[in-house]
Each structure stands twice: as structure tokens, then as C-alpha cells.
């Protein structure tokens, strides 16, 4: 069970470097990464392409050997079969056996998990329903679209009810509806007491569902913590959309595609009240007021930007 004080996933001092062309030189891919994921939380590993997210995940799964460091899954060495029996995994851009049907594919993975034949048929049907592929069980995988393959990948990752689910870019290749369904599915896993560790570069999705996040850049951990600690919930400014006459002396832009509207940015609530009074007096109409808070994207850009600037400085020196 996913309970107790043992972390669901614990990574300590992880290092990995790859050999360069013709085996010359070593290029660091992951540098001294450490984190601890608590049971029952949704943890997002964020970072731009090439940050080391997939390399970290591959080391958790034993597909790559770390040069240094330790990884434990519920206190067990990650390379052990006991550890892998407790996790489910969806790779980035998954591709599955095109000689199988969806039902044969899930049955194969259920067999690898040691699930008895008497349970397998019902389990496979329920899992297909759960990921929105009910009725496609007998379709050959070679006929599946990218989105359907992604759903099937999720199905194999969760059908054996693992305590820890590791998802590498689970929203990639999905349409907005599919992304929402995956988000709901991840939230459902948390409700069922499971731990979810996922990598993404889609910050909006991470912001909506993560309890905690870590940001990786060039293999190093830039930030880690609770979202509400890292991202301030305070309003930074207001964006006001006004239709009709704009009060004199107010700087405004135009919302895209709306010739009769003005977009005004005011720094605080006092300035907002004053602006709304002047619009009313001048006969204008307030269409919308949008309080702009810090987002994960702001944090992300700020940290990545700071790291880039530091890198430039050190290169100059």
C-alpha cells in the first residue's frame, strides 16, 4: 500500500553523463539531482527540452544506470523487481506492438504483472473503458491514432493499480479534450491514494494538478517545492477591457481583433477603482477586469532566464 512515512520515490545525488561523438568527452545530462516524493501526491518534473527529465525517469526505471547517486521506490532499490512491481510507466511518444489488438496488448501486460487469467478479461475491459477506448478492444494497434496510442499507454501504466505512476509527457499529442481527460485521470489516481510523478513542458497542465513541482534545466535542479510556496497568489496587476470612450490621459492597447475596445493595465486595486469611476463618468463600458496573478509560467521563465543570464556571465568571465 502507498502509505506510511517511506517516500514513494527518493532520489539522492543523481549524476549521469553521456559520451560524446566517437566516445570522446563526457556531456553531463543530470547533475546532482535530488528530490523526495511523498505518497499520495502529484509531483511535476518540469523543464525545457533537453533538461534531463526523460534521462531522470529512465534512471528511475533502470533503463539507464546512474553514474552516481541512489534511487529508491518505497524504500526499495529502483532496479529491483519488487520496486518495479509497484510502479506503472508511460513513456514519451509511446509506440506499441502493431501486431496486437488493444485487448491482446493489455492482456500481455497483465500477464507480466502476474494477474490471474480469471481476472484478466474483466480487468482489460474495465481499463479500456477507463481511458475512453471501450469498444476499440479488438482494433489492431497499427490503426490507432497518436491520441489513442497515448490513451492505451496510460491504460497499461495504470491497469495493475500501481502505487506510483510515472508519466513522461502524458499530455503530449493530445487534443484539449484528451488533455482534460488525462488531467482528470491523474486527479482520480490521487484520490485513490496513488502517487503520480510526471514530466511535462506544458506548464498550464502542471499548474492545474500538481501538489509540488521541480524545475530542471541543463540537468540541474533549479527549484523544487509546493506550488503555492513557489508561485505567489497575490495579484500583480489588473487588465481592464473597455468599450467606447477611453478617459483622457489613459495609456491603452488594443485587444487583438477588437477595434472598438481598449486594453488598460493598472497596477493595484486603488488605481482600478479610479479607472472604473472615470470610465463610467465618460460614458464608456467596462467589458472585463482580469486580475493577473503570478503563474507557474512566470516562475519558470524567471528561473530559466536567471540561469541563462548566469551562464552568459560565466561564459564571458
Amino acid at each position: 500500500m502507498a502509505s506510511g512515512n517511506v517516500p514513494a520515490l527518493e532520489i539522492e545525488g543523481l549524476h549521469k553523463a553521456f559520451s560524446g561523438h566517437l566516445g570522446i568527452g563526457r556531456h553531463p545530462a543530470v547533475v546532482d539531482v535530488g528530490m523526495s516524493i511523498r505518497p499520495g501526491e502529484i509531483f511535476g518534473l518540469l523543464g525545457p527540452n533537453g533538461a534531463g527529465k526523460t534521462t531522470t525517469i529512465k534512471m528511475i526505471l533502470g533503463l539507464l544506470r546512474p553514474d552516481a547517486g541512489a534511487i529508491r521506490v518505497f524504500g526499495l532499490p529502483c532496479a529491483s523487481r519488487e520496486a518495479r512491481a509497484r510502479l506503472g510507466y508511460l513513456p514519451e511518444n509511446p509506440y506499441f506492438y502493431d501486431h496486437l489488438t488493444a485487448r491482446e496488448f493489455l492482456d500481455f501486460y497483465a500477464r507480466l504483472q502476474g494477474i490471474a487469467r480469471s481476472f484478466r478479461r474483466d480487468l482489460v475491459d474495465q481499463t479500456l473503458e477507463r481511458v475512453g477506448l471501450g469498444g476499440r478492444g479488438d482494433a489492431a494497434l497499427r490503426t490507432f491514432s497518436k491520441g489513442m496510442t497515448q490513451r492505451l499507454g496510460l491504460a497499461q501504466a495504470i491497469q495493475h493499480e500501481p502505487d506510483l505512476v510515472i508519466l513522461d509527457e502524458p499530455m503530449s499529442g493530445l487534443d484539449p479534450l484528451g488533455r482534460r481527460e488525462v488531467r482528470d485521470l491523474i486527479l482520480g489516481l490521487r484520490e485513490a491514494g496513488k502517487t503520480v510523478f510526471f514530466s511535462s513542458h506544458i506548464l498550464q497542465d502542471a499548474e492545474m494538478i500538481c501538489d509540488r513541482i521541480a524545475i530542471l534545466k541543463s540537468g540541474s535542479l533549479l527549484s523544487a517545492g509546493r506550488l503555492d510556496e513557489l508561485v505567489s497568489n497575490q495579484v500583480r496587476w489588473f487588465e481592464v477591457t473597455i468599450r467606447g470612450t477611453l478617459p483622457a490621459g489613459v495609456d491603452a492597447g488594443r485587444p487583438a481583433g477588437r477595434e472598438d475596445e481598449h486594453l488598460v493595465r493598472v497596477p493595484d486595486i486603488e488605481a482600478l477603482r479610479a479607472l472604473l469611476d472615470r470610465v463610467r463618468e465618460g460614458g464608456g463600458q467596462v467589458v472585463s477586469v482580469w486580475p493577473r496573478r503570478d503563474t507557474l509560467e512566470d516562475l519558470f521563465m524567471q528561473r530559466i532566464g536567471a540561469e541563462k543570464a548566469a551562464h552568459r556571465e560565466s561564459s564571458r568571465a
Binding site: 553521456f18 529512465k58 526505471l61 533502470g62 533503463l63 539507464l64 544506470r65 523487481r81 519488487e82 518495479r84 512491481a85 510502479l87 506503472g88 510507466y89 508511460l90 513513456p91 509511446p94 509506440y95 506499441f96 506492438y97 501486431h99 496486437l100 491482446e104 500481455f108 501486460y109 500477464r111 507480466l112 504483472q113 502476474g114 494477474i115 490471474a116 481476472f119 480487468l123 499507454g153 497499461q156 501504466a157 495493475h160 493499480e161 510515472i166
Partner: protein, 262 residues
């Protein structure tokens, strides 16, 4: 709570079954099998065009076709099986299951070997039927067919070993090289007598003992000419061949367990 009892045996059987399914749904296999059956079928015609005992020619061509097309299947299907899993990254989700890497290699070996046995069985059935309807007893060919199957176990093991180490083209070349060298390894004994004592002789000895002695598994000429093959010889040769294949599969497991998936 879902009850799960992952075990080595269940994983090996599941991977073997999946490999079997993949191979029998591969068009290359059917192409080779149909071609082999045609060759066996037309061996009757070849016997008419050649001087000699018709039955012997049918037996000779039939057994050679079974051996050759078995080897071609083992090489072409065998070398691509592991490589495809790595190239298409299906191995990522598979190895994320409670499966040891050696279970994966062993399951692949068993799955492909089962396909080859089916293949050899179908081709032999066609040859036996042809001989039976001509009034000739096909049963004396059985020891040769059995040792062809053993030879295919060795070729499959090498195909798996090389495909764990390199790409399909090089794997095919290396596997064929071992197959040819295995049939010619007896000549190393002749060669060692003709080279000066010392390092060259040591190399000949080492190669002779390391390479598979496939000539020992080739009973085609003997059974075609009606020679009685002692059961003890067939049993010993089969034990040698299967033991050799087991060592190569163990090496393939070791090579695969060291592999990193970038």
C-alpha cells in the same frame, strides 16, 4: 485490491507467446515458408532432370530446403526481434514491469524457437507426405530433422546475442558467419597440422573449441543414403547442440543486462 503474483515463469511465457505471435504475423515468415514448400514440392521435378535415385534426390533437396529456410527464418526474424523492441521503444514499458532482463531474452528465444519448430514441422510434414505417397518410408529422416531443429536453436541464440549488441545488418552478417564457420570448423583440425607449432596452432585449437561444430549436427547425407544413425549419437549431438545454445543464450542475457537505453 488487485491480486498480483509476478513470477519469472509467467513473464518468460508471456514474452515468448508475444514473440511467437509477432513472428507468425510477420509476412517474411510466410514468404520463406511458402518458398520452402514450393522447393520441396518441385524436388520431384528436379529428380526427373537428374541422373540418380529419385527418392534420394527428393530427400536431399527436401532436407536441404528445411535446413536452409529454417536458418534464413532464424536469422531474418531473429535479428530483428530484439532490435525492433529497442528501436520502437516497446522495450521501455516492458522492462518497467517486474521483469528481469534475462527473462526478456529467454522469452524471446523460446518464442522464436517455437516458431522455428512449427516451421520445421510444417516443412517436414510436406516432405514426409511427398515421400509417403511415393511409397517410401519417411521415418529414417527423423534424426536429421531433429538435429536441424537443434542447429536452429544455436543459430537463433547467436541471432539474439548479436542483435543485443549491434544493428540488424551486422547481426545478420555475424550470424551467417558463425553458421558458415560452424559448418567448416572441422577444417581447423586439418589446418592446425599444417601451421607451425605455437600461437597459430593455439588459435586453431581455440577456434575449434569455441565455434559450434555444426557438422556434427548435419546428418542429411547419412540418412539420405540410408545409413543407420545410432540413437546414442543423435542424443549426444542433440545434448551438445542444446547445451551450446544455452551458453549463447546466457551470453545474450549478460550482454542485454548491460545495455543502456538512451
Amino acid at each position: 485490491m488487485l491480486e498480483r503474483h509476478p513470477s519469472a515463469a509467467a513473464a518468460i511465457v508471456a514474452i515468448g507467446l508475444n514473440t511467437f505471435r509477432e513472428a507468425i504475423r510477420d509476412r517474411v515468415l510466410y514468404l520463406l515458408l511458402v518458398f520452402a514448400l514450393i522447393i520441396i514440392g518441385v524436388s520431384r521435378l528436379l529428380s526427373l532432370l537428374t541422373v540418380g535415385d529419385e527418392e534420394k534426390i527428393i530427400k536431399d533437396v527436401g532436407l536441404s530446403a528445411i535446413s536452409l529456410f529454417g536458418v534464413l527464418t532464424a536469422v531474418f526474424v531473429g535479428v530483428s526481434l530484439v532490435f525492433k523492441e529497442i528501436e520502437r521503444r516497446t522495450v521501455y514499458t516492458l522492462l518497467a514491469q517486474p521483469v528481469h532482463r534475462s527473462h526478456f531474452v529467454f522469452g524471446k528465444f523460446l518464442g522464436l524457437f517455437a516458431v522455428l519448430l512449427l516451421n520445421v514441422g510444417l516443412m517436414s510434414a510436406a516432405l514426409f507426405a511427398l515421400l509417403f505417397f511415393r511409397g517410401a518410408a519417411p521415418w529414417p529422416l527423423l534424426p536429421a530433422v531433429l538435429l536441424i531443429a537443434v542447429e536452429l536453436a544455436i543459430v537463433t541464440a547467436f541471432a539474439l546475442l548479436f542483435s543485443s549488441l549491434t544493428n540488424p545488418v551486422l547481426s545478420s552478417v555475424w550470424t551467417f558467419a558463425v553458421y558458415v564457420a560452424g559448418h567448416l570448423s572441422w577444417s581447423l583440425l586439418t589446418l592446425r597440422e599444417k601451421v607451425p607449432e605455437g600461437f597459430a596452432r593455439w588459435v586453431c585449437d581455440a577456434l575449434y573449441w569455441v565455434l559450434p561444430n555444426l557438422k556434427r549436427l548435419d546428418l542429411k547425407a547419412q540418412v539420405v543414403h540410408g545409413a543407420e544413425m545410432p540413437d546414442a549419437y543423435v542424443a549426444l549431438a542433440a545434448t551438445y547442440g542444446l547445451g551450446y545454445a544455452a551458453v549463447i543464450v546466457a551470453l545474450a542475457c549478460w550482454a542485454f543486462s548491460r545495455k543502456e537505453f538512451l
